[in-house]
């Protein structure tokens, strides 16, 4: 039998246009479009690209859930056996769309999926555990290399063949521990490894330790009475209406908001958008998560010099470490530039 494959690409690869057409809504076209030709060639006679899904990157980013539902609706009429998305190379929004769509399709339609990206594409960190993502170069120059690997991975999944190691198959390591039988017993492997280590030769650990990025605390503030203190929270406290549309979980952004002249947060001015805890008490009194009221009191008492007139907020709920690190670095930089001496960091 010939498998039916649907291919997902963005507006750029469909030849519709660049950034100016990134709001292009989802559309399903018969047969192959753009890189789909190479995909069809690589799939050979085993599978046919029955349709191509096109969607603008901005459209997908701004209508994520709606876009996924709409696309899945469009897909179902084609009764696909598999979905291939991308390659997205190092394009961030395109990568996120490929990742989100593959994830949703694999869970909702229960069919094999594959996508392809540059390892530093932010979507890799989020989706690598759940998806097979073929490793590509950072630009479309890597198309010729990526497409045959994507075709092979999707065919193997369709045929129910077991997938080998990441380096054999060309996918980005998912970080899944898989049991195997090696050629020699553990004790002998250990002695071999020790001899290599003693000789200063290369050796490969069988379990790379997870790296904990431990940040040493900054030295204590010398003169607290003159210090400028800022408030930062991962508890999701934002001005009412969530102007930056920070996500309730797996946040991709943080917000910077003014508290100049504000003495107190109220249910009328602020709210939480955090999706990981009962928001009742935070919404009753947002000071419970972002303690502006007591900070103002202490400022008046002279417990510290002054309160910085901006605060930073994001949602710490299933947030990938890669994003959290990026937010932290950016916020710290801005605080340094504003001559802030210390931060009160509150969670949920």
């Amino acid at each position: 039998m010939t498998y039916r494959v649907v291919h997902y690409i963005n507006q750029f690869f469909a030849g519709i246009g660049g950034e100016e057409r990134a709001d292009y809504p989802p559309e399903l076209r018969e047969g192959v479009v753009g890189p789909g030709q190479a995909l069809q060639a690589a799939l050979g006679e085993e599978a046919v690209v029955v349709a191509t899904l096109v969607c603008g990157d901005d459209y997908f980013a701004e209508h994520a859930e709606e876009a996924v539902d709409k696309i899945i609706g469009l897909l179902e009429s084609y009764r696909p056996d598999a979905l291939v998305a991308g390659p997205a190379f190092n394009a961030g929004r395109y990568g996120m769309a490929c990742g989100a769509l593959c994830d949703a399709v694999s869970k909702k339609l229960c069919i094999p999926v594959v996508t392809a990206m540059y390892p530093e594409n932010p979507a890799v960190e989020i989706y690598r555990k759940d998806l097979y993502i073929v490793e590509t170069s950072d630009s479309a120059r890597g198309m010729r290399d990526a497409i045959p690997k994507m075709a092979r991975l999707i065919l193997k999944q369709l045929n129910g063949e077991p997938l080998g190691r990441p380096e054999e198959e060309g996918y980005i390591e998912r970080g899944i521990r898989v049991n195997i039988f090696r050629d020699r017993i553990g004790a002998e492997r250990a002695v071999d490894m020790l001899i290599k280590k003693l000789k200063g030769e290369d050796f490969a650990t069988e379990y790379p330790m997870p790296s904990f990025d431990r940040v040493p605390p900054a030295p204590a503030i010398q003169n607290i009475r003159e210090a400028k203190i800022a408030l930062v929270t991962s508890g999701g406290i934002v001005p009412k209406g969530n102007p930056d549309r920070i996500e309730a979980s797996s946040a991709t952004k943080y917000g910077e908001y003014s508290i100049a002249g504000l003495e107190n947060l109220t249910p009328e001015t602020h709210e939480t958008v955090h999706g990981g805890y009962d928001p009742t008490y935070a919404n009753d009194d947002p000071d419970r998560v972002l303690p502006l009221d007591v900070a103002r009191e202490l400022e008046k008492e002279g417990a510290f010099g002054s309160l910085h007139d901006k605060y930073y907020a994001t949602v710490g709920n299933g947030t990938p470490v890669a994003y959290a690190k990026k937010f932290g670095e950016e916020i710290a930089k801005k605080l340094k530039e504003a001559d802030v001496d210390g931060v009160i960091l509150t969670s949920t």
Binding site: V191, L198, M209
Partner: protein, 429 residues
């Protein structure tokens, strides 16, 4: 110290009029075994059964596995403190081993859980003891016995029978003689002195509550880290008193056949100068962890070693001891390789250890203990399969109506043995 291990190969096991070894067959006389244990009034009764490789037999719940051994020359006898006297030490002279045979102890030690051994089918691939000809002792305790006493009774009974079986082969000429000899540490040849000095840091389970190990009869919880000659280990100086999570507890059998010691002996004089073993424990208090990891590394420094192999026993809490031993050794300039198993979740997506450190850059993995394995029904169950649901690694509904079992690998005896006894491992994909 010099030890000759006289290996008498056992290819089959049968019932007989008398207990003996003939033409590589171990004959078992049930009454002889029973009467050997009848003096122990802690047992209501002891049944003896046989399980051969390839048979459709399941043994559950398994407590310990022991290789039959006895001394034929030299001080004392095997399992000092239990069978042999503690006047004198073991590890010298000649020891007889019935290779290919094992004594398996099995019993309802109420309230805690032990392992499964399948002699055939998919479960047999994971346990080393599907390949041995097993004499299984099934214990029923006296009703009023306290469970620690019962555990002690089971432990000693297994050792007694293992010793007894080996003595029955004293007249049989061995199929193979292995020689284990290490020169005194301070009197080694110039050639040996040129090689990197390596010791083995041998962590013994000592979390208490039936997670115990015995050294010359002493509860390992109560020791300070100390030196032991590798040959003493071959003579049963270290005995298992463990019950829970059978996959990564060292049965007495794997202590007697410690593969790390074997592997270090193989390379001794070629690429390394094998100095000896440091035994330490895995006590539960932070104070003990700090003291014993510092003391262990101090011993390694006193010996002037360049590298160590460190093996863990168990998981979770002892991961801390493993990492503390590793970190302190590396900071003292001693290179380390660790052997551990993993608890990466059933899907393999979680972090594998409860503690981690950048110094632990050379790790041998003996596999992830969490994945589920389906064990088909067997024709015969030795022991009590109704305990499968409460076995560590089992869960409510593990035991199906047809006798099949769905359990995590951790319920299988020796599946992820952390002495590196098998080829089982894990890799990142």
């Amino acid at each position: 110290m010099r030890l000759e291990l006289h290996k008498v190969k056992i290819n089959d096991i049968k019932w007989g009029n008398t207990t003996k070894v003939e033409d590589k067959v171990l004959y078992i006389n049930q009454e002889e075994i029973s009467s050997l244990l009848s003096k122990d009034d802690r047992f209501e009764c002891v049944e003896v059964d046989l399980a051969r490789p390839g048979e459709k037999v399941r043994i559950v719940p398994v407590k310990d596995v022991i290789e039959p051994r006895c001394k034929i020359e030299g001080e004392g006898d095997v399992f000092p403190g239990f069978i042999g006297d503690v006047e004198g030490t073991v590890g010298e002279g000649k020891t007889l081993a019935l290779t290919g045979a094992a004594v398996v102890t099995c019993g309802k030690i109420m309230g805690f859980q032990e392992g499964i051994i399948d002699m055939s089918g998919p479960g047999a691939d994971y346990t080393p003891f599907s390949k041995t000809n097993n004499v299984v002792l099934v214990f029923t305790p006296r009703a009023d016995i306290e469970r620690h006493d019962y555990e002690a009774a089971c432990r000693v009974a297994g050792l007694k029978v293992a010793h007894f079986l080996a003595t029955k082969a004293k007249d049989v000429s061995p199929d193979e003689v292995s020689l284990y000899e290490l020169e005194e540490i301070t009197k080694r040849s110039k050639e040996l002195e040129k090689l990197p000095k390596v010791a083995y840091i041998y962590m013994l389970q000592s979390q208490g509550l039936l997670h115990d190990t015995y050294v010359y009869g002493v509860d390992a919880k109560k020791i300070l880290p100390t030196l032991i000659h590798p040959n003493e280990v071959f003579d049963g100086a270290i005995v298992s008193g463990n019950c829970v999570s059978a996959c990564d507890k060292n049965s007495t059998y794997v202590h007697q056949n410690n593969p790390v010691i074997e592997a270090l002996y193989k390379r001794h004089g070629e690429e390394i100068n094998f100095i000896g073993c440091i035994i330490t424990n895995e006590n539960v208090t932070l104070e003990d962890k700090k003291r014993n990891s510092s003391y262990t590394v101090k011993l390694a420094r006193m010996l002037g070693v360049d590298g160590v192999i460190i093996t863990e026993e168990g998981f979770g809490n002892p991961d801390t001891d493993l990492i503390m031993n590793c970190k302190k050794a590396e900071l003292a300039g001693i290179k380390t390789v660790l052997i551990t198993d993993e608890y990466a979740g059933r899907d393999g997506a979680s972090q594998s250890l409860a503690d981690a450190s950048p110094e632990a850059n050379a790790v041998v993995s003996v596999g992830n203990a969490n994945p589920i394995v389906k064990l088909p029904p067997m024709e015969r169950v030795i022991g009590f399969s109704e305990y499968v649901d409460i076995i560590a690694g089992g869960f409510s509904g593990s035991l199906k109506d047809d006798g099949s079992i769905e359990v995590e690998l951790q319920a299988i005896t020796g599946a992820t043995n952390e002495l590196g006894f098998t080829c089982f491992s894990a890799e990142t994909r």
